[in-house]
Symmetry: C2
Subunit: 675 residues, 2 copies
């Protein structure tokens, strides 16, 4: 008996509070400080992410410099300095921001930002102190003060509190900004998972930022801005009731300062219209006059289920800062242009959805061909809130989504229809959210949330359809244009020779060429100022035709486009437009002119052309309208169709189901084809 008594006492005596800094010091691999190479990258990443967040909050175009140099004090030590032109941090906040874990301004805000945890940069300061015992040197200047503050800061890990080692005023020749300098145990590399790769990725998804890297050997690498638009500052929004847990709803009501539930709900939750409020209260059997914090127990449960079942306004996208399809393409071109890809797929930017009360959205870009290796797995560039993810690819929902798509349907090789496909292809995937569900504090992988996975699959499939169109177009175009060239060049020569031999005049060859070619061609030409396109459609078939012309382009373009003749219809939300062309006799031709404002960033490659009214095999320079692309359907119907497609993919698509789509389309075309 005394043995066990002593034991319980003994065990109790060992119970202790664990400081969060102590915890992360021990488990530094969780924060991305597994080894010297990764520690360096994580440090750069945390500092640069903060710099970009700060610049965006101030509405300035970010100018960030990363300097990495060997430090003489030890064999594997490097000095890292990151400076920005952000608004600066007030003196009184500097110690906590850099010397205390779980302290920050962005955790409690419902808006998209790179830093959300209040851990990153103080973790780097903690790691530097742990490995070299050197404090962080932080300089910060705000515009209203003459001088900058220079503080040396350590993390006291046992108490998770900052320790200011020294402090002075410093002159700094910039109006405002922050600079942090650390000495840490590190290893510098240039290839995979390096600061350079991180900055290259950052430049792609932040085309408005200017990033400079000074390497230990003095090499200076600059990623210039590809855009001078400051991205719209993402706004703070209220939590949306969809996906909110009971405890979260209770906390919202507890914190509300309104006197009654009826007042509190629309002010504390997003999407609650007056009409919805009525329905909610009725369903929950609440009067609305209750004091918000008094709603508990069964009443709270009824309120939650009413909030989940009543139809509310969809989430606002204001809290998100998507890159947008035009800037994705510009970013890719700016950084990957040297690879000279044949094809930039029109980037897909999905509308925002909700998970756990927070909006998120998914964007996908794709480049194909050029000098990319055709026999290797595709390169996957993962991003979350405009930050490149370089580690833990295998544990990430983005990877899972890419691997779940059957890329063989879309023209890439893929063993067994699973895993990363093979081909000369780079796929960029960006997940933006007010709360990204990362698998760990190192923020290198997105957890496999079913909602996020579904959106990823939809966006990837939409992009993959463009890829498929491009690849088959490429193949067909090459074949048909070779044939066309031969016929147009050789036939006249034969005719001339033959006419000469028999002493007769050379006949009109157009009907003959038409008979042999039997195609409708679409050719585009760019005017000199670059701000438009001329589209020529020629009917080289032996039959008069009424054709419909469809185009898909970046949604942003639809509004600014001036078309002659005018569009017959458009769906700006999907970036689609269409015309019915005048009836074309055999050999008949018609032209359309498109113009856009001179500074718009787009060109012929941004447009995908489709023609209806002729069989797919008779098209040159355009494609048949895909079966899933019915422009006349309202948006909701299209979304429902896409959701059904994902459902079938999620359930393991059968080959039959997949083919119906295309077979159906082809059959229609064949039936119609009567010549």
């Amino acid at each position: 008996m005394p043995r066990s008594a002593t034991l319980a006492e003994q065990l109790a005596a060992k119970q202790r509070e664990i400081s969060v800094a102590e915890f992360f010091e021990r488990n530094r691999q969780i924060l991305g400080f597994d080894n010297p190479q990764r520690a360096l990258l994580t440090t750069v990443k945390e500092a640069v992410d903060n710099a970009l967040d700060a610049a965006e909050e101030a509405g300035v175009l970010p100018d960030v410099t990363v300097e990495i140099s060997k430090d003489d004090s030890g064999p594997d030590r490097y000095r890292v300095a990151v400076s920005d032109n952000g608004p600066g941090i007030l003196r009184r906040e500097l110690p906590n921001v850099f010397g205390r874990l779980l302290y920050g301004s962005r955790f409690h805000a419902h808006r998209q930002s790179r830093g959300q945890q209040g851990i990153g940069i103080s973790a780097a300061v903690l790691y530097a102190g742990l490995t070299t015992a050197r404090p962080a040197r932080v300089t910060s200047k705000v515009e209203e003060e003459e001088a900058a503050h220079l503080l040396e800061i350590l993390v006291d890990s046992q108490r998770n509190l900052p320790k200011v080692v020294s402090e002075k005023l410093d002159l700094w020749d910039r109006p405002h900004g922050t600079r942090v300098e650390l000495v840490l145990k590190a290893k510098y590399v240039r290839g995979r998972q390096s600061p350079l790769e991180y900055l290259r990725g950052t430049a792609i998804v932040n085309p408005h930022a200017r990033l400079v890297l000074v390497e230990p050997d003095g090499t200076r690498i600059t990623f210039e801005r590809a855009s001078t638009e400051v991205p719209a500052v993402s706004k703070e929004v209220l939590p949306h009731p969809y996906g909110l847990e009971l405890g979260e709803l209770a906390a919202v009501l507890k914190q509300s300062k309104e006197r009654s539930l009826a007042e509190a709900l629309p002010k504390r939750l997003a999407g609650v219209t007056p009409r919805a409020l009525k329905e909610i209260l009725a369903q929950a059997a609440l009067s609305g006059k209750e004091e918000p914090s008094s709603v508990q127990g069964p009443g709270l449960e009824r309120l939650l289920s009413a909030l989940r079942s009543v139809s509310l306004l969809p989430p606002s996208a204001d809290s998100l800062s998507p890159i947008g399809s035009i800037l994705i393409k510009r970013g890719l071109r700016n950084v990957l242009g040297e690879l000279r890809p044949d094809f930039y797929a029109p980037p897909v930017s999905r509308p925002p959805k909700i998970r756990g009360g927070s909006p998120f959205l998914v964007e996908v870009g794709l480049v194909y061909g050029g000098s990319l290796p055709p026999d290797q797995p595709i390169q996957l560039l993962r991003f979350a809130n405009r930050v490149p993810l370089l580690f833990q690819q295998g544990a990430c929902a983005i990877t899972a989504a890419v691997e779940s798509v059957d890329w063989r349907r879309y023209g890439l090789e893929q063993r067994g229809g699973q895993g990363l496909p093979t081909g000369p292809c780079i796929v960029l995937v960006h997940v933006a959210s007010t709360r990204i569900p990362f698998t760990s504090e190192s923020k290198e992988a997105v957890a496999e949330d079913p909602e996020v996975l579904k959106e990823l699959q939809l966006a990837l499939q939409a992009t993959a359809r463009h890829l498929k169109a491009h690849i088959s177009r490429q193949v067909r175009r090459q074949y048909a244009s070779e044939k066309f060239t031969i016929i147009r060049r050789i036939l006249p020569q034969i005719a001339e020779k033959a006419s000469h031999l028999v002493g007769k005049p050379v006949p009109d060859l157009a009907p003959v060429i038409t008979e042999i070619m039997n195609v409708v061609t679409l050719e585009t030409q760019t005017p000199e100022n670059g701000a438009g396109l001329t589209i020529t459609v020629t009917n080289y078939t032996p039959r008069a035709r009424v054709l419909e012309l469809f185009v898909e382009m970046p949604p942003e373009l639809v509004g600014t486009l001036v078309a002659t003749p005018a569009l017959d219809g458009s769906d700006p939300s999907l970036g689609r437009a269409w015309w019915t062309l005048p009836k074309l006799a055999p050999n008949g031709q018609t032209q359309l002119e498109l113009h856009w404002p001179p500074k718009t960033e787009c060109d012929a490659a941004d447009f995908d052309w489709y023609i209806a009214g002729v069989d797919e095999s008779r098209l040159l320079g355009a494609d048949a309208l895909p079966g899933d692309w019915d422009v006349r359907l309202p948006r909701q119907v299209i979304e429902a169709a896409e959701a059904a497609e994902v459902a079938s993919v999620a359930g393991g698509p059968s080959a039959e189901e997949e083919e119906v789509d295309y077979d159906g389309a082809e059959k229609t075309a064949e039936l119609e084809e009567d010549d």
Copy 2:
């Protein structure tokens, strides 16, 4: 100017401390509460891990019951109750243990335990509160008190403090123990990543535990103990200087209560002998009389580099609680016996190594054949500190190590020599450490530490060699024994017939059989009491032979084995022993007897037999001694050879290098073969 001023002020006003509970409530996916199914598993896991830790600390055989039932209060709610027979927790500690994150007894102790973070069970309480607003009901009784305490506890997430909702005394008909009951949003499944799979895995690596699962439909599944030995309680040890960071050394010295550095070092760090101490102080240019906490700056750096370079005692294994190869096999047999595998590879338990000041070791078990599917990827059972890891297989060092082995060398199919191999095989891998480097707080994947990876590869290769031996033995045995049977049966019949026809006596066929067979056979027989083996070696070759016999067995067996004739030599650390057999004339035979204590858990399958002195192709029932298996070499040389092998594997093994090993061995044998 005022704009930016206001901005810096505005930003500063938003800076706030973030409670660790708030942080994890938001980021619950990090703790393993991504979705209702995983939340249920994580809850069960955290409660059972605590129960097993508590029982082990008390030195009792654990008896743990998990009851899961539907809760009527909502559509997707379950009630989970886990009770144990541990020492119980004192009343005063209950609120903090269950209602506060980062609070516990095992974080600051340098010894192996399942819980190391002080997060797990309070995270489950947090999640339950969040999703159902219900407090945890905790009952605990310590032996010296008559009644149990029953407390209802919630986590106050904004302050990370426990909130005791109600409290009373309760009678409980057991001397001591703890029970925790939670109602949470959950989903019950039985297949992959289920509580059942978790308990099955737990039973394999904790053969001393009795585990009961009561499922929502009332089904009761019991995993009975396969061993009644209480595992030795892992002891607390001092941190070892190898891999210690500067900041950690500074903290050790700061906390030391000794008056001088010379006193402090051997008392605060492991492995510092008096002789090593002298060398360290000399190298660091320190007198040893310094007050420990006064050693800082350059002196501290010199001390660290001296500690790293002076040779110290290796880490003690006392702080670790490996399963041991005998119990690994017993656990596998107990739980997987219904699969009737053909082969249990002798489990490999590697000696402890150091990373970051903490000892760790690696164990590997393998079963093959039986009713396991031959055309599917092998099953990988991952364990850390005797806890099954069911999620994030793709992000785990164990998986990376398994995938880095070229299993084609060892008889399994593997596409391109990478990835999980295919075959009727289950591989069990256990990593034990005082500090497992998990990739996140959900403790589902081990970070890819180079030291850990290297040990994993060595252990996997050693196991794989046994597998290869088994597979090739199986193939050869079948072929040769068929041939042997035919010759021994048919030849006498032919001889008799022929003799009868020609009217001559039947000749002695032994020399003829010998001439035709040309093999050395090894047969084993188990005596009736099961506690031994009789080994018969027969020389069916036409030449007299001096043979050497080698055996590999679980290291634990070597000491208890009684052999007649006596062993000629053994290496207990590797579980190896050998004899030189008396010269055997053609048709000559010799026998060995092995005996072991009756209760020892082993049988013929635990022994691998090797014979030298005859070509591999002439062996039946034994194998040629592998080229890398030189029993006469001292242990260090063997380890160096193994390390070289890993280095070559890590660098991407070329097919040439790999073959040298076996070619070399075969060549030697061929040269020697002169009959």
